[in-house]
Symmetry: C2
Subunit: 208 residues, 2 copies
C-alpha cells in the first residue's frame, strides 16, 4: 500500500462530467419510466453525489429534457447522402436509411417517441414538436421539394402526419415484434410514395 494518497474522488472537466452523467441518465431513462428513475439512481450509476446532478442540469426534468432532445435530433448530414433517381427509388432509400439509424439507437428512440406518458408536459411536447418539424423538413427536401415553397407549412403538416405512422411502425417492429423490418419498410416507403405522388398534389387544391 503506497500510503493513503488515494483520492476519494477524481476531479473532471465540467464537460466531461456533464457528459458522463448525461450518459448514465440516458441509460436509465431508456429502461425505466421517468418517475421510476430517481436522481439518486442516476448519481449512483455515475458514481457521483446526487447534488452534482442539480449543479450541472439544474433539475431532474431539465436533465430528462436534454436526454430527449438529443435522442430525437437526427443528423442532417446523412440526409444529403440520398441518391437521385426515380421517386420510388428515393422513398425506398430514405426509409432504408431511417430504419438503419433507428435500428441502432433502438432504446433511446423508443423511449423518446413512446407516447405512453403519465400526464402531459409542455416542454416535452415542444421538443417533440420541433423534432418532428425538422425531420419533416429533411424528408421533404430529400423528396425534392424546396424550402421556399409557398405551401411549405402545409407540406410540413402533411409529412408530420406521416411521421405519426413512422413512429407507430417503429414500435410495432422494435417493441412488439409484430412486424419485421422488411414489412415495415414496405409500409413506410409505399405510403411515403403515395403521399408525395398522390396526396400532396391533391391537397394543394383544398386550401380554401
Amino acid at each position: 500500500m503506497t500510503a493513503g494518497s488515494a483520492p476519494k474522488w477524481r476531479r473532471l472537466e465540467p464537460d466531461e462530467r456533464r457528459e458522463q452523467i448525461f450518459t448514465c441518465a440516458a441509460e436509465l431513462f431508456g429502461e425505466r419510466p421517468y418517475a421510476a428513475v430517481s436522481t439518486a439512481d442516476i448519481a449512483a450509476r455515475a458514481g457521483v453525489a446526487r447534488g452534482l446532478i442539480n449543479h450541472y442540469f439544474g433539475t431532474k426534468r431539465e436533465l430528462y429534457l436534454a436526454v430527449v432532445r438529443r435522442a430525437l435530433t437526427l443528423s442532417p448530414s446523412a440526409a444529403a447522402t440520398l441518391p437521385d433517381g426515380s421517386l420510388a427509388e428515393r422513398t425506398d432509400a430514405a426509409v432504408d436509411w431511417f430504419l438503419d439509424m433507428v435500428g441502432k439507437q433502438q432504446k433511446m428512440w423508443l423511449a423518446a417517441i413512446t407516447p405512453e406518458g403519465i400526464g402531459r408536459d409542455e416542454e416535452v411536447e415542444r421538443i417533440l414538436d420541433e423534432a418532428d418539424r425538422d425531420a419533416a423538413g429533411l424528408v421533404l427536401e430529400a423528396m425534392g421539394f424546396d424550402r421556399g415553397d409557398e405551401r411549405w407549412e402545409q407540406l410540413i403538416a402533411l409529412v408530420r402526419t406521416y411521421g405519426g405512422m413512422v413512429k407507430a411502425a417503429s414500435r410495432e417492429w422494435l417493441d412488439r415484434g409484430t412486424l419485421n423490418r422488411s414489412q415495415v419498410h414496405t409500409v413506410l416507403s409505399q405510403v411515403l410514395y403515395t403521399l408525395v405522388a398522390d396526396v400532396i398534389p391533391r391537397a394543394r387544391h383544398q386550401s380554401e
Copy 2:
C-alpha cells in the same frame, strides 16, 4: 343558530363518494400534468381528507389509470353502419365517419391520444394499446377482412401503424389547425386505400 348539531362532514355511499372523487380527479388531470396534480389538490377540490383517496383508489397512479380508462372508452355501436361498394368508397366512408365522430368529441379525443408525456407507464401503455387494437379490428372488419384470418395479428399491426398517422393527422387538424378537414380526409382515405390495396397483399409474402 339551531344548536351545534351541524356535522363536520357528510357520510356518503361508497359509490357516490368514489364517483365524486373520480370526477374531481378527472377535472384536475385534464387541466394539469400528472405530476403537477397532488392528491392533496384532488382531496381539496372534493372537500375530503387526503387519505380517503388512498382508501378508495389505493394509489394516485391507480386513480389516474381509472380516469384514463374511462376517457378512452368509446361507443362501438356506430361502426356497423358501413356501406358496401368499391374499396375506394368504403375507405372514403370510413374516414368520413371517423372524422365526424372525432369532430364532436374533440377535447376528449385529443386529451386521450396526445403523446405529451414524461416517462412511460406500463399500465397506461396497455390501456392505449388495447384501445388501438380494438379500433384496428373495427377498421379491418369494415374493410372486409375476416377476424379468423390466419394473419390477423399481422393485419392488426399494420392497421395500428396507420392508427399512428390518424392520430397525428387529428392533431394537425384540431389542435394546430395546419390542415383542414378536407385535406385530412384526403390523406387518410388515400393512405388507407394504399394500405389495403397495395401494402397488405405484399406484406403477406414477407413473413419469413
